[in-house]
Symmetry: C2
Subunit: 186 residues, 2 copies
């Protein structure tokens, strides 16, 4: 897998990567433990501050690390990483496996959080917990993105979008209607 | 635009249509008013009961209709409807326009909610408000889907996924890894 050198990216522009609905790899860290999980249930919530929400099942080890640290990194894999994504989804932290080693992924120190970035992903968003009022009842976490790292290319990454039943949709062609939008709706 | 004859669809299977992250058209109805809005910020929350969350800006007229009725229908448009989607996004309910008439969309009576289904969409999900505790603070609505209507074909609709800046990603090819998944993770 190719490593991506990423640059700072404006926080109010991260919708470009998350709003289309890709599967992401969430990294977490607490005390001497780190983990990676696959996540498909997330959404944007605001631009400034850059907020998003996600669902994390309480049965996942990552749920525990994330509740304790109140931080995570959301990393964006591309279609060439599909087998890594499936492999991570199949691997339980309970088996004592370090998923970075098992899947040949390269951790990189984040700026504001303890969880690592993943070099092989095209974008990584450092997140701090902004609201936990629905965590207990619904598993719903609200995040503020405090730092965004994005590879300058590809401009439109071929992201993976999970349909269930073992099937991914891969990001297809684009259509621009920019000239037709009212400016305030872009 | 083609109308889609839709059939009952199992509620625990709706992730297939929503989890990949498409733009949807949300219909609402309250007293003598109805509306349609474009929404891209939503996510799955549970299979049984079928739950999802979404963000709706308080400045949208639909926000008001939906808060009063505590119901909505989430309709799934396809790429051939891109200009209709952009048109609806550009049109304010404050102008007194009926968006069904303006955009040639056909309303159909829902089973459990007052808001109409849209015949031209390939899927429609009737929703009742399940949790409003973060509506005031974050604009975050939690829905239970109480009835799903889905067109038998296309099996993989070419949905629209908004990237911001007037640009949509269209659903591309699919990759199946079903045989590689642990059964409980499918």
């Amino acid at each position: 897998m190719k490593k991506h050198r990423k640059s700072d990216f404006p926080l109010d522009g991260i919708r470009r990567y998350l709003e289309p609905g890709p599967v992401v790899l969430v990294t977490s860290s607490w005390e001497n433990e780190r983990n990676i999980m696959v996540m498909g249930w997330h959404m944007m919530l605001d631009f400034v501050p850059a907020r998003l929400a996600c669902y994390i099942w309480s049965g996942n080890r990552s749920h525990c690390l994330i509740r304790n640290s109140r931080e995570c990194v959301i990393n964006l894999p591309t279609a060439d990483m599909v087998d890594t994504v499936v492999g991570i989804g199949n691997t339980s932290a309970a088996d004592g496996v370090d998923k970075f080693e098992r899947f040949g992924l390269t951790p990189r120190k984040a700026t504001h959080v303890g969880a690592p970035l993943i070099d092989e992903c095209v974008a990584s968003f450092e997140c701090k917990l902004a609201d936990d009022s629905l965590v207990e009842r619904l598993g719903l976490f609200v995040w503020e993105v405090v730092k965004a790292h994005v590879a300058p290319t590809p401009k439109r990454p071929r992201t993976l979008h999970y349909r269930g039943d073992g099937e991914f949709m891969v990001a297809g062609p684009h259509i621009s209607r920019k000239r037709w939008f009212l400016q305030q709706n872009l």
